[in-house]
């Protein structure tokens, strides 16, 4: 960073070499009297592709949102790259810099162009010069196959394009881990594929991914492991082959029957 004598990340906790990408131990969270996460233990290895599924209200979104500190929790601990997530700003920033997130509702910044959506955090968080930030943003927009939309606003794009911009925006920060919170649930059917293709491509490049989704085709094709959650607990975890052909838990069988018809 030429011309800057200030390290924007000074004082942040350092990652631990050889630590798993994500380590969750005894995670518990209440919404009032309702226990939404109940004693979750979960290890996500480097380069692992994890799919989390389960009925609505089972706590799967809350689980991945607690990995980058968007949700707080009352019990247990979360470690990302060996950094123990606390409520301290430095720690949270250090974790968020290593974790990219894609939301169900895209959450693009509507007042910024596609390119600015990708570059704003590079400039403000990583302190990059505007030119370098634009260059890197374009690189990742090319990766999701929409560099030609760089000058447009989100409202001018289709849902699938918007979600791919959201992926590029997260990737531009060059995270170690990508979280996807139902990335295709609010898309029209014909746009689901273009977003899934982008995610498959990303998986092929060795990105560590945790994906909350009901796209069982995607899970079969890409996932190393499928986790089934119900009422705040991990009820079953298995390889996709084992999970889809022979689910052990009764609730998992009922769930699969519902979504596979």
């Amino acid at each position: 960073m030429i011309g800057r004598n200030r390290n924007p990340h000074a004082g942040e906790p350092q990652p631990l070499a050889g630590a798993p990408a994500v380590e969750i131990r005894g995670l518990g969270k209440w919404f009032g009297a309702f226990k939404v996460l109940d004693g979750i233990d979960l290890l996500i290895g480097r380069g692992e592709r994890l799919v989390i599924c389960g009925p609505s209200g089972s706590g799967k979104s809350t689980l991945i949102r607690s990995i980058n500190g968007l949700e707080g929790f009352q019990e247990g601990e979360v470690l990302v790259d060996g950094i123990r997530l606390t409520r301290e700003s430095k720690t949270v920033q250090a974790v968020r810099r290593r974790v990219g997130m894609v939301f169900q509702q895209f959450n693009l910044f509507p007042h910024l162009t596609v390119l600015e959506n990708c570059s704003i955090a590079l400039r403000l968080v990583q302190g990059m010069a505007a030119k370098d930030a634009d260059e890197r943003s374009l690189h990742y927009l090319r990766k999701v196959h929409i560099p030609e939309q760089a000058g447009k606003f989100a409202s001018q794009l289709s849902g699938g394009q918007q979600q791919r911009v959201a992926v590029a925006r997260a990737l531009a920060m060059e995270p170690d881990i990508m979280l996807f919170d139902e990335p295709t649930s609010s898309l029209d059917p014909e746009m689901v594929k273009e977003v899934l293709d982008t995610m498959v491509q990303l998986a092929g490049e060795g990105m560590t991914m945790a994906v909350v989704t009901h796209e069982m085709g995607f899970a079969r094709q890409v996932a190393d492991r499928v986790i089934f959650m119900d009422r705040g607990k991990i009820v079953e975890q298995a390889t996709p082959q084992a999970f889809f052909s022979n689910p052990q838990a009764e609730r998992a069988r009922a769930f699969l029957q519902q979504i596979l018809h």
Binding site: G100, F103, L124, S155, A170
Partner: protein, 324 residues
């Protein structure tokens, strides 16, 4: 238009069931008000050579004539393109208002003699007070809104008390409190800074609520996306939330600015030589109150129009992302 319907309804005024009763209504009201006996009525009758008609008949003739003019006018305007309809209606109404003032038999010579002083001293002072107050009020409003949305009890308490007090007390009282009250504590304050302080505090309190509502109108997802990317809370507010909130904030803020422009006349009570003060005092010397009041009013109106235009331009700027 927010919602352009794809159904064509004939304009209301072209339907007999609307325009016949409307015109009849106008006719009845004009008659009831004895329009024939008014100055306008007398002139209409005179120009038609009917000045000798009985009052009742004259009244009817004038009412009917005006009703027909209105009906004809509506018929013509409805045939113009939309944009021209707006311009023509606007100009016609402005002309009517000016005619109304003209009927006061004003001394334009007096206005000519005084207007330069009114502009040079009064307008400048009004603009100075309003502009400074607008800037300070906006800063106070932003701080107040952020305090109201914070989880800091002290900030929350201060902001709540501030908006309650300064929205609750009459502005006139606030001006007196600052100008006459502060010297009791040993701080003598000039009239102009006192006026600016009162206007800023009062309008800052109203605008705090506008800013708060604007910030709250932005979905939680925007905060989450921004924070997940690692933006700090301050950058999230200034780069992500506020630019979007501006779309909600600007229309009511424009209202506040226009209201403040006119409320700046209240500081005349502590002897500031602003527009309204000069209009009152200059008119007194020659018993030409109405001349000065109308002149000052016209100046306020023109200033408001300028603010409206500025507001429209800023709105366009912040709406550009949603325009396809």
């Amino acid at each position: 238009m927010q919602f352009a319907d794809n159904v064509d309804y004939p304009p209301l005024l072209t339907r007999p069931i609307v325009f016949v009763p409307a015109l009849l209504g106008i006719l009845v009201v004009l008659q009831y008000w004895h329009v024939g006996a008014s100055q306008v009525g007398q002139e209409v009758l005179g120009s038609l050579g009917l000045a000798t008609l009985s009052p009742a008949l004259g009244n009817f003739v004038v009412a009917a004539a005006i009703t027909m003019i209105i009906g004809f006018n509506v018929g013509v305007v409805l045939r113009l393109p939309l944009r021209w309809q707006v311009y023509v209606v606007w100009l016609e109404l402005a002309a009517l208002i000016l005619l109304f003032f003209y009927s006061f038999d004003l001394s334009f010579d007096f206005i000519r003699r005084k207007i330069w002083f009114l502009l040079r001293q009064g307008l400048l002072m009004t603009l100075y007070i309003s502009a400074v107050s607008i800037v300070i009020a906006s800063v106070l409003a932003l701080m107040g809104a952020i305090a109201k949305l914070s989880s800091n009890g002290i900030a929350l308490g201060i902001a709540n008390f501030y908006t309650s007090l300064f929205r609750g007390l009459p502005l006139l009282m606030q001006i007196y409190m600052i100008y006459l009250g502060l010297p009791q504590l040993g701080y003598v304050i000039d009239a102009v800074p006192a006026g600016i302080a009162a206007l800023s505090l009062c309008y800052g309190a109203y605008m705090t609520e506008i800013f708060r509502a604007g910030i709250e109108s932005i979905s939680k997802g925007q905060w989450e996306a921004s924070r997940a990317l690692g933006l700090q809370p301050a950058s999230t507010m200034t780069r992500i939330i506020l630019p979007q909130a501006m779309r909600v904030i600007i229309p009511p803020t424009g209202n506040q600015f226009i209201a403040m422009l006119k409320d700046s006349s209240l500081v005349s009570v502590v002897g500031v030589w602003e527009l309204m003060y000069l209009a009152r005092t200059q008119g007194q010397t020659e018993f030409r109150h109405i001349e000065m009041m109308i002149t000052a009013s016209m100046i306020y109106w023109i200033l408001s129009i300028v603010l409206e235009l500025v507001q429209a331009r800023i709105e366009r700027h912040y709406n550009r992302a949603s325009a396809r």
